[in-house]
Symmetry: C2
Subunit: 580 residues, 2 copies
């Protein structure tokens, strides 16, 4: 491509609504253009990146035996009603009525449609396994779209769906995808982690997120530097506390702690480490009648060490706590006779069900609220001051330094951006939609499914969050809009510069390198600023002076300075630096 025939439109300043680096830089580089909240045009430069991402995804999906199809963007509501998601999904699901007042949705994903295809087309076990995928426009009507392509409303997603005859097959299909995803993310040239994720009600460990590492990432991801262990915060576990609980050494005492309603404040006041305090969280669960009215409410007290945070996913898995909510002030008052900040497990007005985090269960001489305003107990001990906890469970988020569950050292935490997800679905959708096939014994059997997504339009944003500096984007070679830019300085004045630039440009193209020749005749400063902002990883500068010396300047976008390369070596030099 020649820059004079391409559309380059860079901006000095990012628009005011761009908050994060990738959004700012994509706007400034002219990669995307906002049409409405969370709705963007992929401009020619941005589309080149998207197409490279798509090509990598497509190649690896095909290599893994998946078959590409394209499902409709506009889908009849009936299918979404069959699975109940038409109602469950809320306003994120964009709904439409057509000219005949029939209900439709704009696809946010396509489990329903692909399951509908499967129940019609997959009639026999002989046709299994099958994995169908598409790379298609999706829409999620986010309440607060922001961060450019990171949390847009219209986006491009690769979604794949595997169909198998049984769990063994489905798990094998899952593993094929998990491996394909590793190849895909390796090829992107980004630092990423595949982290175990919660698989919800289905259980099992067959759910992994592919997280692009970036300090600005929304997700905390947990990993063990000494092993392969990695999980997202929802899922990550620390090693269970080992050894016996220390013996009690203090007497129980009620201590005034006026205006100290947080564990941090209490620990400071008492001159104790935060790890000696226990925080009390009050939850409630409701039982409903068939008519949907609350017929019974159970109040729960959760105890966590003062330096720990509750993990809602783990809590939701404790028998009886599925669908929990936080207790109301009235419920707290009725049971504890005290306002939050001074709550504790001793001296309750009404009994509650108690859940102690594993770490709390092994504490001695701890501090907790006294259920009296402005007072805490110190020297609290299990078995002596209150009964041994009935329910002990892991209900907290891990923190950096926790022991890794696999015993290989301690956990570390970094931030990530979720760009891919592989997920074993089981029969969730096939059951709801009665998608069966005839098994070898001639009997109908539910299809076993998995689903596998990659945020195609999110990936470039994640890549930028990971790879940018004060001058702009730094693309990995594999997904750069162009791999090499040849900057021809003064080509309007110098036939030699023009000829040398055209020659190198032609040679790069001929050897399969995606090059752009900047023949716009801009001043060097403008040219360099544009390409550094746009983030093309390799740059060759051709100037009259350089040609006189027989030298051209090569600079990788990450290099601190240019390297002089003899004219005759430049092609080999550039190609040697490209890592695709």
């Amino acid at each position: 491509m020649k820059a004079s025939r391409f559309f380059i439109s860079t901006l000095k300043e990012a628009p005011a609504d761009a908050e994060i680096a990738s959004h700012k830089l994509m706007m400034r580089a002219g990669m995307i253009k906002k049409l409405g909240a969370g709705i963007y045009t992929y401009m020619p430069l941005g589309l080149r990146v998207i197409r490279k991402v798509e090509a990598i995804v497509r190649e690896e999906m095909n290599r893994a035996g998946a078959l590409e199809l394209t499902m409709p963007v506009i889908q009849p509501a009936e299918l979404w009603q069959e699975t109940g998601r038409f109602d469950k999904m809320g306003p994120e699901l964009l709904r439409i009525k057509d000219r005949h007042e029939r209900d439709f949705v704009v696809q946010p994903t396509s489990e329903e449609v692909v399951t509908d295809i499967a129940r019609q087309e997959l009639r026999s076990y002989k046709q299994l396994p099958v994995n169908f995928y598409q790379i298609q426009t999706k829409f999620r009507d986010e309440r607060r779209p922001r961060f450019g392509l990171m949390r847009g409303r219209e986006f491009i997603m690769k979604d794949a769906y595997s169909f198998d005859r049984d769990q063994v097959g489905a798990k094998a299909s899952y593993q094929v995808m998990a491996q394909a995803y590793r190849r895909i993310f390796d090829r992107f040239g980004l630092r990423y982690r595949a982290v175990a994720a919660d698989s919800g009600a289905i259980g099992g460990d067959l759910s992994e997120e592919f997280q692009v590492i970036a300090a600005t990432g929304e997700d905390a991801i947990v990993y063990c530097p000494g092993s392969e262990y990695a999980a997202n915060m929802e899922k990550a576990e620390a090693r269970a506390p080992s050894g016996p609980r220390p013996a009690a050494t203090q007497a129980l005492a009620k201590t005034p702690t006026p205006d100290k309603s947080t564990c941090e404040d209490v620990a400071a006041l008492l001159g104790l480490p935060l790890q000696r305090t226990v925080k009390s969280l009050v939850l409630a669960t409701d039982e409903f009648s068939a008519a949907g009215e609350v017929v019974k409410t159970q109040v729960w007290l959760l105890l966590l060490r003062g330096d720990h945070d509750m993990n809602e996913v783990k809590v939701g898995k404790i028998p009886g706590l599925a669908g929990f909510r936080f207790a109301t002030v009235a419920e707290i008052d009725a049971h504890f006779g005290c306002k939050p900040g001074y709550l504790g497990p001793l001296g309750l007005r009404q009994p509650v069900r108690l859940v102690a985090d594993r770490e709390v269960a092994v504490m001695a001489d701890w501090v907790c609220g006294a259920n009296v305003a402005d007072h805490h107990f110190t020297g609290v001990n299990w078995g002596r001051d209150l009964p041994e906890p009935e329910c002990v469970a892991d209900i907290r988020n891990v923190v950096a330094g926790d022991a890794s569950p696999d015993g290989h050292g301690v956990l570390a935490i970094e931030r990530g951006i979720e760009v891919g997800h592989v997920f074993y679905l089981g029969t969730k959708y096939s059951k709801a939609m009665n998608a069966t096939f005839l098994a070898e014994d001639g009997k109908p059997q539910l299809l076993e499914m998995g689903c596998y997504g990659i945020g195609v339009s999110r990936l470039p944003a994640a890549a930028i969050e990971q790879n940018h500096d004060e001058r702009g984007i730094v693309w990995p070679d594999a997904i750069a809009p162009f791999t090499v830019v040849v900057c021809a300085i003064g080509l309007d004045r110098s036939a030699e510069v023009r000829a040398a630039a055209e020659k190198l440009y032609g040679e790069l193209l001929a050897t399969g390198v995606d090059a752009i020749l900047d023949d716009r005749g801009e001043r060097p400063g403008v040219m360099f600023a544009d390409w550094e902002l746009i983030g093309v990883p390799h740059r060759v500068v051709i100037s009259d002076r350089g040609l006189k010396d027989g030298q051209l300047e090569y600079q990788h976008r990450r290099d601190a300075a240019a390297t002089k390369v003899p004219v005759g070596d430049i092609l080999a030099h550039v190609r040697g630096r490209i890592a695709i």
Copy 2:
């Protein structure tokens, strides 16, 4: 691709709602799957064809200097209100409200969005010309979707939009596209015609449709076998009648024609050629007040030769007749005092404005209704029985055998399916949206536009309408889902067959031929029927018997019988038959 790993799902019978060959065959071949009225999934086999069409379109658009971008499917209504199309387009435009009750549309096309981009991005004449295109999902909420992909609601279209500084530039951009379209349609390998089309209010001749020739086509296309002249029916003109009008030879006479209300019946009754009769069509035009009420109505009488049909586009261009409607029975009665079927220009109750077709203006001794039920006049002559016509115009559709307007023989008519359209827009959208650039003189000037569409998902349907037989589809090489199928007979029993099949398959792939190996182990009859239905153009059959004779069977989908080819020559033979 190996058939055992691909998804092949053919049907013996087409669904009942499939009316035309392409719809039936695409359903039977398993290329598409219906999700709702006019909404289809492109199954893996169908998507392969779509992708080949897209690739050809993309390559030629890029070669022509157009730049690909991708505009959103879901577009804010504001832009559509700016051009007035939000109201004008009626229910074909699918409208949505998002969670904040803001209006959106699903793009049926993207003039508004691209013009919005242009008015922001194209600031200087130095940036012009530019041509932006996308290949994207579109939606038109057709009242009666049918014929599969031929008239679907959701479809894939390539839409391109050129921006120029002046008309000269815009016309050059138009010509670049018109040439690119010829290359695209040549490469598809289909018989097609580029036909002049009406360019609406804009005028000029810069509108061409690309019609795929097919007997089942919806459009009549007019061409001159002896020249390059071709136009669609709306636009086509015959050569103006030459020579003087014959002299009157008959006296005017009122003749009873009971129950003969059509020209055909009257001509038969009177024993005259149909060409001697004149039909009367009564139109009306309304003038409206600012409040939208009709303040004045003008009634018009149009005279056409009995064997001719009115051309509404031509009529609409006659001064005063823009926006015409057919007159009501009451209006006809008030002016003619007679019911339709016996109307004519003589003896009116109230004056009307008369328009005579050019052919009628040169007739003598003609027949028309007498404005008396069951009576016609014969021997009618201009100037004697009624005044010479004030307005003479071409207001009819051409018929086969009419003289070509370029003087090179007579016109012929065939049927076509419109798959492409190139159109000079002028400033229609730039004016409505105030899309200006700074011209060389520093003053803002409206962008000159053109738009250029190709029905990507319609093209395969059109190709099938043109190329099929009783056994199924016959794809042109360029857009076939696979170019060659290698049918291995009995490969489960014969290691030789399997080895030979794998070898040829590998060699085909290695030389860039898109081949599929049918390794499903089906019986030959099933295999052949599948591939003939699917329409793969080249077939090689490998069997034990053939290998023993050192011969393989090659057959093109159009060949009446297979050709025996020595094993060693087969690769060259197949490649020699491929025409891409």
